[in-house]
């Protein structure tokens, strides 16, 4: 983190004044809760708009975005500070390659995150994808396996490309709820969350439209088709997630490598050995002894012992 140059968050000034006010208000609230840094991890499949979302939040072109090519294979952390408050956003490469979860990419991400604390996880997908499949589940599972179930308590599902006209005359709200419902199901199963966990702290779903053609309201804020200004909304959801009582995820060596199965139960080995000796080896030895005793002797082996005398 030290190597990263923390720059003044100048991009915030590009936002319309209404947005700026809201953001500063939200960040101020966080500061009141003694949160001086906020680290956001952005993950998702390739080409869903992760980098664009990062750029939108920062308010500048901090990460290279290319429409047709995947961004660099390495994660990038963008750090901005404003009035003593530091915002870190970690943009990651797409997790999917060739129809499978790219373990290698995941490995690189994990190593990149070593010794960092993830305050919020943004799981990014597109709103305008109609279907969810097993691959989505795999991606969610890969994230869960890497950072643990707890990460979803700090998780926010972000749906990009929010400005769309729903097909077949579906109501926008209906489409949104259906899509988010389907995605949540996948997240739940992929993260192996129980229904109970979800109800306790529902994973919020936020809509995002990164396109420059995004509609704007009277105060020049980018708005969604339902009229909400999405940048303040996103930041608000993020701050809510931070202050929902859960802890941030510290990525340490143990988390990356998982619990070392080679260490588990090592202390029990002497007891296992004793158990094996007394309850398995001894038992088999007894069985052998009884086999030897039971062994049917040929008549010539035993006959001489007794002779019949009339």
């Amino acid at each position: 983190m030290a190597s990263q140059l923390i720059r003044e968050w100048t991009g915030i000034q590009q936002f319309p004044p209404a947005t700026q006010t809201k953001l500063i208000e939200l960040l101020g609230k966080l500061k009141q809760e003694n949160v001086g840094t906020l680290t956001i991890l952005v993950m998702g499949k390739g080409g869903v708009g992760k980098s664009s979302t990062v750029n939108s939040i920062i308010g500048e072109r901090a990460v290279a975005v290319s429409a047709f090519q995947s961004e660099g294979p390495r994660p990038v952390m963008v750090s901005r500070s404003r009035a003593g408050f530091t915002l870190n956003i970690i943009d990651t490469p797409g997790l999917v390659e060739g129809g499978y979860v790219n373990d290698q990419a995941l490995e690189i991400i994990k190593r990149f995150l070593l010794n960092k604390t993830i305050d919020v996880l943004l799981y990014v997908d597109r709103l305008d994808a109609y279907r969810v499949d097993n691959l989505d589940r795999q991606v969610v599972k890969a994230i869960t396996d890497s950072f643990g179930k707890e990460v979803w308590r700090r998780g926010v599902v972000v749906l990009t490309h929010a400005q769309l006209s729903p097909p077949d005359g579906l109501n926008y709200e209906d489409f949104f709820s259906k899509r988010s419902e389907a995605l949540m199901k996948v997240v739940r199963s992929g993260a192996r969350l129980r229904k109970q966990d979800i109800q306790d702290s529902g994973i919020p779903v936020v809509l995002v439209e990164n396109s420059g053609r995004c509609n704007k309201n009277e105060s020049d804020e980018k708005i969604l088709p339902n009229g909400t200004a999405w940048i303040p909304n996103l930041v608000k959801t993020i701050t809510d997630a931070v202050s929902n009582g859960s802890r941030g995820i510290l990525v340490d060596k143990k988390l990356i490598e998982g619990p070392n199965p080679n260490e588990r139960g090592k202390l029990l080995i002497p007891f296992i050995l004793i158990f094996q000796y007394f309850f398995v080896v001894k038992r088999i030895q007894r069985a052998i002894k009884s086999d030897m005793a039971k062994e049917r002797k040929a008549s010539w082996e035993s006959r001489e012992a007794y002779r019949y005398e009339p």
Partner: protein, 799 residues
């Protein structure tokens, strides 16, 4: 005279029946002489453990070879019959034993009947027989025959005076006559024959007379009066082996009645003492009852009845394997009790001798206790010789693999009448052997074309030094390479020292120490792709190290082994480069070397020391060729924290296999085997450090059939269950099976999770049917994960 041998062994049993004078009593005395000759039987248990008799041969003897012979040998057991009549066939039956592997079977009587006339005829064919020179069709008394002529006997008639009829050849008396129709005899021989018959005790009166035939031959009529005694209702069988024969006191013709009474009383008293001194017989109660019934049915005790009793008693002995047992006398006749005197064949001495290649007795290298401890105690002095004990001894000695030829040979003890000396004759194998075998292999050179430089000389050099100090200790070593010019490429070596009788050769505890240096190279089943994953780059696991263990044998099959292993494990890729990680094919088609780690140290080379213990309980046996019983194996590898990364682990496996016989069947050769249900369970688990080469692989012919080795996964804990139903069909069996293997969710507990990296399921079932064709199993197995079936051919047994 019965003998049997195996595999090309020619032997001639001793041909001289020692006809020693025995007590001869007048037919009026109440003692029946049952046999006029001492047993001259040779039961030769002969087994050769090598097929080649070539002394130059340095080929190590294959152990299974000998076993087969040991089995073949047992087939010859049935027909040892000690003949009652004093006929000795002058036939060398060695020719027969040589031909068929197992020869000399069948009872002696049969052989004698077939061969004696021919043999005798052959003996004298060259000499012309003489015509009787008398008018035809007249009856001539024996003493009227000329002493200078050789008469040809045309026929022999047996005339029973009591019944007043001629008895047929099937009559039990007929076998007492040694002369045969067609034979040529002189007067003295005929007189001897008559004397034999008269003194055998069967007849009160016996006559021999000739009837002249027109062609110059003589027909012989033997007329007899069968002996009978008063009826008896008690029977007793005594063992008179090793007892001195009572000396008959000639009865003086001019004894007074009182003296005669005294004489008889003395004789009776002597006999009583003799009975008291004798030992009881092995004959069991049912046979006693059977004989009592015979006595009761008959009323009067007749010679024929005694013959029947004798046959019954001897049959029992011979059926039970007491090949040297013989009824020698019936005593106490004319009382209410019949006493049957038996020489059971008590062993008076056990002799072990070594022979050189030419059959000369030599001082052997092997220490005698090594051989002695293999002998069943029934073969020792003081026991009754039993052919089964002899066979057992043969098998046990053969399993030592020290001898090229083993003979167990009971022979009569000349110094101890009725005693048997068991001789064990051994030919030792060469102590030191060495062997070099070579081969040339041509490997494709550049462009796939073989060149001169690509011809590689390869081969095996092995040596063996066995039976060191005569205590069956041995050192054997072998080195195999496919390229002598560059042996570091693939050099397989093994050096082993075996030290049996760790607790001393006299101690019954049977522990063997083995120490060896070894190396091996195996393809790791851990780095194998699941279904649909094409070609996972293979990882070779090379192990080299030393180990020492002690094996304690409880029974032939059950044993306990414990020891130490120190080894270095190197994992290599296809091109023999050390690879610390498995490789995987990327979706893009490239290969990345960041797969699961292959070793504990992460360097590709592990060194470790661990203790190993294995206990096997196996009480399986063959029921008409089908295996039935139970087999449990438990194995633990206990890491000692010595080695790379201080490996400390407990890796354990428990295998339980039961072969359940589903139907009771009669046991015996040629009988069909029962259907068998096989239930099998295998649990493997590891606590502590688990390098991937020690992970348990699922799938494969010995894990879950229908899958490739490791196709289902590699895990920390596994459970495999299997059931197989075997139905006998003709000489073999067909079977149906179902199997399941499961990683119990422990694949992720192997570092790097190779199961998932190579996209394997972690569990799988299969089912199928198969048939056993000799050594090969042909089976059709359906892989339940994909639902497809395939035909497999496998060697050996699954369980």
């Amino acid at each position: 005279m019965a003998s049997f041998g195996a595999q090309g062994q020619l032997f001639s049993p001793p041909l001289t029946p020692s006809l020693r004078p025995r007590r001869r009593l007048a037919s009026s005395t109440p003692i029946l002489k049952a046999g006029s000759s001492t047993p001259a039987n040779t039961i030769k248990c002969d087994l050769s453990s090598s097929s080649s008799q070539n002394p130059e041969s340095l080929t190590p003897k294959k152990p299974f070879f000998s076993l087969a012979q040991a089995l073949a040998f047992s087939a010859g057991a049935a027909g040892i019959l000690l003949r009652f009549s004093p006929v000795t066939p002058l036939v060398d039956i060695g020719d027969f034993s040589g031909g068929g592997g197992v020869g000399g079977t069948g009872d002696g009587g049969f052989w004698s009947r077939i061969f004696s006339p021919a043999a005798i005829a052959k003996d004298e064919e060259s000499q012309e027989w003489d015509s009787h020179g008398l008018p035809a069709n007249i009856v001539v008394q024996l003493n009227k025959l000329s002493g200078f002529k050789k008469y040809k006997i045309s026929e022999i008639l047996f005339y029973d005076r009591r019944r007043g009829s001629v008895v047929g050849t099937e009559d039990s008396f007929f076998e007492m006559v040694t002369i045969r129709p067609g034979g040529i005899y002189n007067k003295a021989q005929l007189q001897k024959e008559l004397e034999n018959l008269a003194t055998c005790g069967m007849f009160e009166k016996v006559d021999l007379e000739g009837k002249t035939n027109p062609d110059g031959t003589v027909g012989v009529t033997i007329s007899f009066l069968e002996s009978t005694w008063q009826s008896a209702d008690k029977f007793r069988c005594i063992n008179v082996g090793l007892m001195p024969q009572t000396k008959p006191i000639e009865m003086d013709a001019d004894m007074t009645d009182k003296e005669k009474m005294e004489y008889f009383r003395n004789q009776e008293k002597d006999y009583k003492r003799r009975i008291d001194k004798s030992r009881p017989c092995l004959l069991p109660m049912p046979v006693y009852r059977e004989i009592l019934q015979m006595l009761r049915d008959q009323g009067k005790v007749s010679a024929r009845l005694l013959q029947k009793i004798r046959d019954r008693v001897q049959k029992w002995y011979h059926d039970e394997g007491y090949a040297c047992a013989q009824v020698v006398n019936f005593g106490n006749l004319n009382t209410r009790e019949v006493v049957c005197e038996v020489v059971e064949g008590d062993i008076t001495q056990l002799v072990i001798q070594f022979q050189d290649k030419l059959g000369n007795v030599v001082e052997g290298n092997t220490q005698l206790p090594v051989v002695r401890r293999e002998l069943p105690k029934q073969l020792r002095q003081g026991h009754v010789f039993n052919i089964e004990a002899g066979k057992q001894a043969l098998r046990n000695i053969n399993s030592l693999a020290l001898f090229s030829n083993i003979e167990v040979n009971p022979r009569p003890d000349e110094k101890n009448e009725g005693g048997i000396i068991v001789e064990i004759k051994l030919k030792e194998l060469e102590q030191k052997t060495a062997e070099v075998s070579s081969e040339w292999s041509i490997v494709p050179g550049r462009g796939g074309r073989p060149t001169l430089a690509s011809i590689q000389p390869g081969g095996t050099v092995s040596f063996e030094h066995r039976n060191i100090k005569g205590l069956n200790r041995s050192i054997l070593g072998s080195v195999t390479t496919s390229n002598f010019l560059n042996p570091q490429d693939d050099l397989a070596f093994k050096l082993e020292y075996v030290h049996p009788y760790l607790d001393g050769v006299y101690n019954t505890r049977n522990r063997t120490l083995r120490a060896s240096c070894f190396n091996s190279r195996k393809l790791s089943p851990v780095f194998t792709g699941g279904p649909g994953v094409d070609e996972v780059p293979p990882i070779w696991v090379d192990r080299a190290g030393i180990k020492a263990n002690i094996t304690e044998n409880f029974t032939r099959q059950s044993k306990f082994t414990y020891g130490l292993v120190m080894e270095e494990i190197t994992t290599r890729d296809e091109s023999s480069h050390i690879s610390p990680n498995g490789q995987r094919v990327l979706p893009s088609g490239g290969i990345s070397a960041d797969g699961p780690p292959t070793t504990l140290s992460g360097t590709g080379i592990d060194r470790m020391a661990f203790a190993q213990a294995n206990i096997t309980r196996d009480n399986t046996k063959f029921v008409n060729g089908a295996i039935v019983g139970e087999r449990n194996v438990f194995q633990v590898d206990q890491g000692l924290g010595v080695g790379s990364n201080f490996p400390f682990f407990n890796r354990h496996q428990l295998t339980l296999t039961r072969f359940i016989q589903l139907k009771e069947v009669e046991e015996g050769a040629g009988k069909p085997p029962p259907p068998v249900l096989v239930l099998h369970g295998h649990y493997g688990g590891c606590v502590g450090d688990l390098p991937s080469y020690d992970a348990f692989a699922l799938g494969g012919p010995y894990s879950v059939r229908g899958y490739n080795m490791g196709e289902l996964g590699a895990a920390r804990n596994i459970l495999e269950v299997a059931a197989e139903l075997r139905i006998p069909v003709r000489n073999t069996h067909v079977y149906a099976f179902a199997e399941h293997g499961n990683d119990l969710g422990s694949s992720k507990d192997v570092k790097g999770n190779p199961t998932e990296v190579y996209r394997r399921m972690g569990y799988g079932s299969s089912y199928g049917v198969g048939a056993k064709l000799g050594l090969v199993r042909a089976e059709y197995a359906v892989d339940h994960n994909s639902g497809t079936g395939a035909v497999f051919f496998r060697f050996g047994e699954r369980f």
